[in-house]
């Protein structure tokens, strides 16, 4: 349905996106993961035809979106990262405006406004000014505004940043409803790995403007099948011993955590005794050791050397 081929975007000599190729099948829910500055928003802007790529193309049903942006605009709903609403107007007035610009009018417009308000759970508060809403409620109206014209494809750019758990759950339920019951194709961008794991059947991981891995959850986790994750809970700072741990052959990656260290190590490497010796040399006591199989977060760390929220 939607495909990008070797998308490149360069701003004044700096590459924001370098050769991104991805695809979305009809009715699919696909995640786009990456830390700040990975190039996710630029990629989304190119897909939605807001900015032109330096090279590469976006194809909708095989037709170039770069050459004919109007084609994708008819079937696309974009939920931007920022709250793109008139704060001086009520939720209802905002939705009426966004409906009008999509040429909806009369009863059809009224019906769609009430439907999307139901979808985001704000029907009762539609007459209140958006400026009086909580951050979560604003984000929900931000989503509703993108759904008025019943788009075939919805692109959501970090729709749950900085909101309360109740609104977050509501937004996740809305995305599920859109995708599973209404068959809408969703491209979901987030910092939160667990959200993407819950909502998306496939995902792309981006870093430094490139797609560094893609596939289903299981496929991505297989990247780390030869590794174990060791969580060391320490009684003091682990920064000192981290350097020495990195020198060990079996240790692939070391990251400092809130109360100790997280190590990605080769499976069955039997390095525990060496770890204990290093801790003793640094006069740090190991309070607890926990070994688990890798999560997607660990895959991300392995691929990029940093966490998603870095």
């Amino acid at each position: 349905m939607l495909e990008t081929t070797e998308l490149v975007k360069r701003f004044k000599g700096t590459y924001a996106v370098q050769g991104v190729s991805l695809y979305l099948d009809k009715g699919e829910s696909v995640g786009l993961l990456g830390p700040n500055g990975a190039g996710k928003s630029t990629t989304i802007s190119m897909i939605s035809s807001l900015i032109k790529p330096t090279s590469g193309d976006v194809l909708l049903y095989g037709n170039s979106v770069v050459k004919n942006p109007a084609a994708i605009r008819k079937v696309l709903g974009v939920v931007p990262q920022e709250i793109a609403l008139y704060e001086e107007l009520t939720a209802y007035e905002n939705l009426k405006f966004f409906g009008r610009i999509y040429k909806l009018k009369g009863k059809e417009l009224e019906l769609r406004i009430q439907e999307v308000l139901d979808m985001v759970g704000l029907r009762e508060r539609q007459k209140e000014l958006v400026r009086t809403y909580s951050g979560g409620m604003k984000r929900r109206i931000n989503i509703a505004a993108a759904l008025l014209h019943e788009p075939e494809i919805v692109i959501m750019d970090e729709p749950t940043v900085g909101i309360d758990p109740q609104s977050r759950n509501h937004i996740l339920d809305t995305v599920r409803l859109l995708n599973r019951e209404k068959g809408t194709t969703v491209l979901y961008t987030s910092h939160y790995m667990e959200e993407v794991e819950q909502l998306c059947s496939r995902m792309y991981i981006m870093d430094h403007g490139k797609v560094i891995a893609s596939g289903s959850k299981q496929e991505l986790k297989r990247i780390l099948t030869g590794e174990d994750i060791l969580h060391l809970q320490l009684d003091g700072p682990g920064a000192g011993m981290a350097g020495e741990l990195r020198m060990l052959d079996a240790v692939l990656q070391v990251e400092e955590t809130e109360n100790g260290l997280k190590l990605i190590v080769a499976k069955q490497s039997r390095i525990l005794s060496q770890v204990v010796q290093i801790a003793e040399r640094h006069q740090v006591e190991i309070l607890r050791v926990h070994v688990h199989t890798p999560s997607l977060e660990d895959v991300f760390l392995h691929l990029t050397g940093r966490t998603l929220r870095d």
Partner: protein, 367 residues
């Protein structure tokens, strides 16, 4: 386009205070300065060194005969206290054959008063001296007065076209100046909605909708134009029908000039949108530009005050200069289409240039 226009109108209805404030500000400034400009400056005089009351009253009559300023005879103590405490710029001490001026500070306006007092004293004392040497002083004075009424040479002043010369009405000029100045702020802040929507992301949402860019721009610019025109029309109507300002019978013609001026202002607003990056930056640049426009165009001073060729050249690029010329021409000099063509063509040229460059810059930034 209508959706964009209506959204702006809905926002306005929620919070109409800014436009009301600017209209009120324009009216207030005109009342304070415009009506003040119509009144003569008044100065206190007092009798000194044993000058008798009838003699003092005679000097006051002679000083007021010029009609340039108003002189009031008050007690010495009060006159000096007013100058000392900053309530008056100066006071004139009248003596039988001399005078003294007590000033709070030396400035051009005070020197103008001093010059008038000196002239009146010189003329009167020369006349009295000549009369004293005549056989019949009273007859001499009457002869002088009669000859002054029928002078052998009469000086007539006429306009370049042979007609009656036009007197500049400062209160009317200030009415136009303050109205045209405050409408810069009104229109500017409305055009700033483009920048605000670009910052908030609403603009991108509109770009991704079936709306054409032309419709988005026209919605915004049309709305800014309507608000600007309403501002000018309300202000002029208030001064004409409520305060009775002599703006003439060609109210419709004034509105035509106002419309073209407002279009030019919208275009200047678009240029500022292209030049700045945030609504806050736009606000700062707008305030600077709005304050500079009337100063460059000499809107607050009598014609001919600004003589610096650089300032005069810069003022050619300021819409307010040409709108002032056209409005004053309509109200005071009965300008017809031929005389209005030049200022209106300049306004339209500014509009086209600023609009073209401004929109181009806004669009280039988008990419």
């Amino acid at each position: 386009m209508i959706a964009v226009f209506l959204a702006q109108w809905q926002k306005e209805k929620r919070s109409p205070y800014a436009i009301l404030l600017f209209i009120a500000l324009g009216i207030m400034l005109t009342i304070v300065f415009g009506m003040g400009a119509a009144k003569k400056m008044s100065y206190a005089v007092y009798a000194g060194d044993g000058l008798e009351a009838p003699q003092a009253a005679e000097w006051v009559r002679l000083l007021n005969r010029e009609g340039k300023f108003e002189f009031r005879l008050i007690e010495e103590e009060r006159a000096l206290r007013d100058v000392r405490e900053g309530r008056a710029e100066l006071a004139v001490k009248l003596m039988a054959e001399d005078y003294r001026i007590v000033m709070a500070a030396d400035n051009p306006a005070n020197r103008e008063v001093e010059e008038l007092v000196r002239t009146v004293y010189n003329e009167e004392l020369q006349l009295r001296a000549a009369a004293a040497s005549a056989d019949d002083p009273q007859q001499y004075l009457e002869d002088v007065e009669r000859r002054l009424r029928q002078p052998p040479l009469a000086l007539e002043i006429e306009a370049a076209d042979g007609g009656e010369p036009v007197r500049n009405d400062m209160s009317l000029q200030l009415l136009f100046a303050f109205t045209l100045y405050t409408v810069i702020m009104t229109v500017g802040y409305k055009v700033n909605a483009v920048m605000e929507e670009r910052s908030s992301g609403v603009w991108d949402r509109m770009i991704l909708s079936p709306l054409r860019k032309t419709e988005i721009y026209l919605g915004h610019m049309g709305y800014s134009f309507c608000i600007g025109m309403t501002h000018i029309a309300v202000a002029l109507a208030l001064f004409r029908y409520v305060f009775g300002f002599p703006i003439g019978d060609r109210y419709g013609m004034l509105l035509v000039v106002a419309a073209i001026y407002t279009i030019a202002l919208v275009a200047v607003g678009m240029l500022l949108t292209g030049l700045t990056r945030t609504p806050e930056q736009f606000g700062i640049v707008l305030q600077i530009a709005a304050a500079a426009m009337p100063l460059l165009g000499g809107a607050y001073w009598p014609p001919g005050t600004v003589t610096n060729p650089i300032i005069l050249a810069v003022s050619e690029f300021v819409p307010l200069t040409h709108a002032m010329e056209a409005m004053k021409g309509i109200a005071l000099q009965q300008y017809g289409p031929a005389e209005l063509a030049a200022p209106l063509a300049k306004l339209l040229l500014i509009a086209v240039l600023c609009m073209g460059v401004g929109i181009n810059m806004v669009e280039r930034r988008s990419h």
